[in-house]
């Protein structure tokens, strides 16, 4: 189990203790509290397991603050992959995860996909308000298995079913994303500028989510304990070279 189940529910004394002692960050707490965005209560995402096309079992679970340094290492090589917009997605995701780690992004969550403990992809998002979700990024590391599609679906599932939101605002930064989200979900165009660069958002409503759920959202709960234990024990990441090869290599699809 994660050490800190909910980063926003810590008592102030614990936050202070953590920042000053555990993380050795010598900061002025009075100022720090002014810098942090306000937060909303967030329900946890219950993990699930998905059987992929290759028969392997991908555990989808919520990552926690202590996972962020590992996730950052995994995202780092994508900043230099200049294809399929991995560079812009990677750079923005990196900063968002950093924002999550340093309490500079409000109500952010990150879901990871793991096979035998290995990280195969991640998604992040945040609650813009109690009713509206702001979808941030989807990063597939293992390609050709619809990992990104499954993780994006999990993200929508979290917004609508567990966080109880009415809508999610979404943009795509790549043609692949546009096909996966806007077309496959039949998202509604809006004139609302999205946080990600101001592109006009598309909207997944609660109604549309449940309409599309049977063909786009899958997964079994509860996750068998042996699978969950492996996933929670450690997030194992590929080396930078392996990550580049998985994403942009000759066989990358």
């Amino acid at each position: 189990m994660p050490i800190y189940p909910s980063r926003y529910s810590w008592p102030m004394a614990r936050i202070t203790n953590y920042i000053l002692k555990e993380s050795c960050m010598a900061v002025d707490m009075e100022l720090e509290l002014m810098l942090r965005p306000p937060s909303l209560p967030m329900a946890p995402y219950p993990p699930k397991v998905i059987t992929l096309a290759n028969g392997k079992k991908m555990v989808v679970r919520e990552a926690h603050r202590e996972d962020v340094p590992t996730l950052l290492k995994s995202v780092h090589p994508t900043l230099f992959i200049h294809k399929d917009f991995y560079d812009v997605v990677g750079a923005r995701l990196y900063s968002e995860l950093l924002g999550m780690y340093t309490y500079r992004t409000a109500n952010e969550f990150c879901l990871v996909g793991q096979i035998d403990g290995f990280l195969v992809g991640m998604v992040n998002s945040r609650m813009y308000s109690a009713k509206t979700g702001m979808s941030l990024h989807t990063l597939a590391i293992d390609r050709g298995l619809r990992v990104g599609a499954h993780l994006f679906a999990a993200k929508m599932e979290h917004h609508i079913e567990y966080l109880g939101q009415e809508e999610v605002l979404i943009v795509a930064e790549s043609p692949i994303g546009f096909r996966r989200w806007m077309l496959e979900y039949g998202l509604e165009p809006t004139d609302i500028p999205h946080e990600l660069g101001g592109a006009l958002s598309y909207r997944l409503t609660r109604e549309l989510y449940f309409e599309t759920k049977p063909r786009l959202v899958v997964g079994d709960r509860p996750v068998p304990p042996e699978l969950l234990e492996v996933a929670q024990r450690e997030i194992i990441i590929a080396s930078e070279a392996e990550t580049r090869e998985k994403i942009a290599g000759l066989k990358g699809r």
Binding site: A53, N54, G55, R179, V218, L250, G252, R253
Partner: protein
């Protein structure tokens, strides 16, 4: 007419070759074929390519290749015949050698499709459809294949399980082929049985699903042809003889066919090839069929005479088309897994058969004692088809 032999072959791994230009890829494959044959000069070069003018904004690719390879002043021709460009280019090379006009001919096929989006690549291939009565209405090749599959299922009892079995077989073989674009194993659970398969393997062009379609690939392949009578002088390789070829066309629009499930051009091309080779389907040891869509492997296997109509799907389920079966089909992984850089495909099929007939493949892909090979290169939606019968020669 002289007998024609293949004395050298070359191929580069298919996939996403972002760092290579179209001519780079053609050159790499050609150099491999020249090295394999042991020749340094050729009389003529035929290049198969469908989309250079559209996708790369580059024409006259054959001339560019000859110069790149320092093969000047070899004659150079570009052959554009849709997805059958590769087969057509080899056919033209074979005719040139058989006629006695040229002695050593290089045929190279290549395509660079991954530098555009999947939509644009699909649209590019759809330019082969009728420009007035098909293309303007949004038809694509997957769309045609979906309609064909529905009709074929209704008429011949082909089932989803049969198509899935082809996906599994060909991706299994692709995982064993270092030249294949898709080296990923898949399972029946993952693409059919599991409730999660609805996302893993979604409908693409109903009743075809994602794993029924070949990938969009970059790649190139090449062969060296010469008269059989000069093989011993020119090369140390076991020659592979082009025993027969056939080519036939069908109506441009599918709607004009009496029976859209009847692939007449496939039947005719195969008949011509077998007649010229003085062989029958049962004489073939291994086949490379044009499985751009899984249904085509079944339909072609029936139309060329490996199985009776309605029997091809059952044969797949019974393992008759696997390694060690009655007629192993697509031991390369086929278009489904090796990939389908359209101009390269027909050449790649012949390269694969040459390796099979020279008994050079690892045992997990090699058809033991293979003596004769057969290929179908399927252009358009069966409106231009090239077939080859190849046989192992004497060293």
């Amino acid at each position: 007419m002289r007998d024609v032999a293949i004395i050298g072959v070359g191929m580069i791994p298919f996939g996403r070759r972002d760092e290579d230009t179209l001519v780079d890829m053609l050159a790499y494959a050609s150099l491999k074929a020249l090295d394999d044959a042991g020749v340094e000069a050729v009389d003529a070069v035929y290049v198969a390519n469908m989309g250079g003018g559209i996708l790369q904004h580059q024409t006259a690719v054959a001339s560019a290749l000859v110069d790149r390879l320092s093969l000047l002043p070899a004659a150079a021709d570009l052959v554009e015949n849709g997805p059958a460009s590769g087969g057509s280019a080899i056919k033209n090379g074979v005719l040139a050698v058989a006629s006695g006009y040229y002695d050593v001919v290089l045929v190279a096929g290549g395509e660079k499709m991954r530098e555009v989006s999947g939509w644009r690549a699909t649209d590019f291939v759809a330019t082969l459809t009728h420009p007035e009565v098909e293309y303007p209405y949004g038809i694509t090749l997957p769309g045609m294949a979906g309609m064909f599959t529905q009709l074929y299922m209704e008429k011949y009892g082909v089932t989803r399980e049969m198509l899935v079995e082809i996906s599994l077989k060909n991706q299994h073989m692709g995982a064993l082929n270092p030249y294949a674009h898709v080296e990923m194993l898949i399972t029946r659970e993952g693409i059919l049985d599991s409730p999660h398969a609805v996302v893993n393997n979604p409908p693409a062009a109903t009743p075809l699903h994602l794993y029924d379609l070949c990938p969009v690939s970059d790649g190139a392949a090449a062969v060296i042809l010469c008269p059989l009578e000069r093989v011993k002088e020119l090369s140390k390789n076991v020659p592979v003889i082009v025993a027969g070829f056939g080519q036939a066309t069908d109506t441009h629009t599918l709607a004009e066919r009496d029976d859209p499930t009847d692939l007449k051009a496939v039947t005719l091309a195969a008949q011509q090839a077998f007649e010229r080779a003085k062989m029958k389907p049962e004489d073939i040891s291994v086949a490379e069929l044009h499985d751009a869509f899984t249904i085509l492997e079944i339909a072609e296997s029936e139309h060329v005479g490996f199985f009776k109509k309605g029997e091809g799907g059952k044969a797949v389920l019974e393992g008759k088309t696997r390694l060690g079966g009655q007629i192993p089909i697509n031991m390369s992984g086929g278009l489904k897994a090796r990939g389908h850089p359209v101009g390269a495909t027909g050449v790649a099929q012949v390269v694969e058969l040459t390796w099979q007939l020279r008994h050079e493949l690892p045992k997990e892909r090699q058809v033991k004692g293979a003596k004769a090979g057969f290929s179908i290169n399927f252009g358009g939606f069966g409106n231009n088809v090239v077939a080859f019968v190849l046989k192992r020669g004497e060293k």
